[in-house]
């Protein structure tokens, strides 16, 4: 009895699925879905070679400092990194005094511990980077987690920064020009690495020497884009080095323990034939 019910229920769902499939297939053949402009023009971010990549990846502190400088002088005008505290900058190789100097350059709004009054004061290492008031078009996202919040991570940031193109002359891999309806509107800029192709942010890194590096590295557009991408990988994953180190030790221990456990397993079962 239960099996008759079962077969009836199975037939019910199967017929519904056949009908759905038939309808779908019919419209698929009669009106094949046209590829959207996004599907034709959107590019996957390119892979970015960073020292933090891979299972044993580590940060290059000099690169992070350079990236921090690019962030401070270019990105910070619109984008905050509110999850990062000034004290975290020690991981970039700055000492206590340098961190204090950096923090003091920022104004944070906080309670005065003596009066309880909320007012502006210079930052201290315990503060987090303040939010940025932005009055223009669009909503600049906080960048603390941006490399974890996009497919491609640091590669996405790098591709976006270096991927701006002239919409009038741009051709995709198939040689197609950007359709009129996808041309950037007023105050928008074309970038094939951006999900819907046009964004409110104009190309932020445009000319060589836009930032003067303290370590004498030549500040090409490519170099600055790469460094700031590396910095934003760090803001998203400040624990990465500790994670990789701990992981290596832990995996080593586990491997040792597993081999021991396997040998004792073989030993225990040695008297059982057929195993």
């Amino acid at each position: 009895m239960i099996r008759i019910f079962s077969i009836l229920i199975g037939a019910f769902f199967s017929l519904a699925l056949l009908l759905a499939f038939g309808t779908g297939a019919y419209s698929y053949i009669t009106e094949p879905p046209a590829k959207t402009a996004e599907a034709r023009f959107h590019l996957k971010p390119e892979h970015l070679d960073l020292p933090s990549n891979g299972w044993f990846g580590k940060y290059d502190k000099a690169q992070l400092q350079r990236g921090f400088k690019v962030y401070s002088e270019v990105c910070a005008a619109c984008h905050s990194i509110k999850h990062v505290a000034f004290r975290d900058l020690k991981a970039l190789g700055y000492n206590e005094a340098q961190v204090k100097t950096i923090a003091a350059k920022f104004t944070v709004t906080a309670k005065d511990p003596l009066t309880g009054e909320v007012k502006d004061r210079p930052g201290v290492p315990a503060d987090r980077f303040p939010t940025v008031a932005y009055a223009g078009k669009g909503v600049p996202p906080d960048l603390s987690l941006i490399t974890k919040a996009r497919h491609g991570g640091g590669g996405y940031v790098h591709s976006l920064l270096t991927g701006y193109a002239d919409p009038a002359t741009y051709k995709n891999a198939a040689g197609e020009a950007l359709p009129k309806e996808n041309q950037p509107g007023d105050g928008l800029y074309f970038n094939p690495y951006f999900a819907n192709l046009n964004l409110s942010m104009p190309a932020p890194i445009t000319s060589e020497g836009q930032v003067t590096y303290d370590d004498g590295t030549k500040a090409t557009v490519e170099q600055m884009s790469k460094d700031v991408s590396a910095f934003l990988v760090w803001t998203a994953e400040p624990e990465l080095e500790k994670r990789h180190q701990t992981g290596a030790w832990w995996m080593g221990f586990l491997l040792f323990a597993t081999v021991l456990a396997y040998m004792s397993y073989r030993n225990i079962w040695a008297d059982k034939k057929g195993h």
């Binding site: 239960i2 099996r3 079962s6 077969i7 229920i9 199975g10 037939a11 769902f13 199967s14 017929l15 519904a16 699925l17 056949l18 009908l19 759905a20 499939f21 309808t23 779908g24 297939a25 698929y28 879905p33 299972w55 999850h83 505290a85 975290d88 996202p141 603390s144 987690l145 974890k148 919040a149 996009r150 497919h151 999900a195 998203a236 400040p238 624990e239 994670r243 990789h244 701990t246 992981g247 290596a248 832990w250 995996m251 586990l254 491997l255 323990a257 597993t258 456990a261 396997y262 004792s264 397993y265 030993n267 225990i268 079962w269 059982k272 034939k273 057929g274 195993h275």
Partner: protein, 426 residues
Amino acid sequence: MSFPWSKEYTPSHPLMVWLDEKLPLPRLVYGAVGGGYEVPRNLNYMWNFGFLAGLCLMIQIVTGVVLAMHYGGDTKVAFDSTEHIMRDVNWGWMLRYGHANGASAFFVVVYAHIFRGFYYGSYKAPREMIWLLGVVIFLLMMATAFMGYVLPWGQMSFWGAQVITGLFSAIPLVGDPLREWLLGGFSPDNATLNRFFSLHFLLPFVILGVVILHVWALHIPGSSNPTGVEVKSESDTVPFFPYFVGKDGWTIGLFMLIYSAFVFFMPNALGHPDNYIPANPMQTPAHIVPEWYFWPFYAILRAFTVDFLIVPAKLMGVLAMFAAILVWFFLPWLDRSPVRSANYRPLYRKFFWVLVLDVAVLAYCGGAPAEEPFVMISQIASLYYFLHFFVIVPVVSSIERPDPLPYSITEAVLGTDESAKLDGNG
């Protein structure tokens, strides 16, 4: 469980004698996972996943309880408190990555455990109750995992909650009020997050309770085994300790190696980037997808694109998604074949492997955007899924001619069984 040859617990130390009279805990341990529990000697590695599932539950409870000490279940602070855990709490990143990847590991292990059951007919008499409790555990796990994913209050958290609670609005008449009652509002908000946090903390302990029943029910008939032939004599079994403690022990190491590789070296490989964007009710993500372990069922939900008879498409999808799991409750009575193991069921075995492939295809389609050709593929794959459980399993079990079974487990392992010869009809 006790076979005639199972050893009775006999305390020798006066303290243990005293304890055995007052609270026979050592007796319980000895009989449940010790030298007094006889287990078929031929269990293969597919029988390790139950123990591993228990380990996963423990990992989730321990990491989860500590995470809850630092998490704030309020929409204003949930996302930031998660980042506080990642950045400021000592080893917080390890707890959180361990918990998030622990959920995935739990589902990997449980899916292996369930498919072991499908292949070896573990659900058949006398083990129906173990199976039924197992399906209850799986349903509780799905509810717990879903609510846990909402807690970081990222974009996928919010929109996942929106979509899944939206399913209830497909129910005729009471759908909309029911959804509002579940959410505590008209869309996911603080009330939703708060109750999900509360339930996400509660349900693992409910799971633990059902797991205890599951293991208790297991100890009545004892484990099934790859031949599906019941235990006949002492030579068919070995005591759980040390034999299976040793075997489970080393596979724990193997499991931990793979799990740790994810936690320490690719912690976000199984997650979705959008959940690192704070929840924004005003902006719908391009593709709303659940975590990978829900993909097969998500594909079934989305496969029903047209109204059928008087049932709207959305309701069909919801019914189908629930039916896809609820049918497992009836499996012991749908599959009437007296032979348990697919090793001796040539026809069923073929359909089993088609099912494995089918669920993999469903999973792929469930993770893909709701576009053609994925929708059509998931319609065909869903069709097979329903045919498999509702039609093929009952029909095959009636018409199939199984291969000859070994006389006993001993014969299957050693090639010969002395007691079979004495029997005269082996």
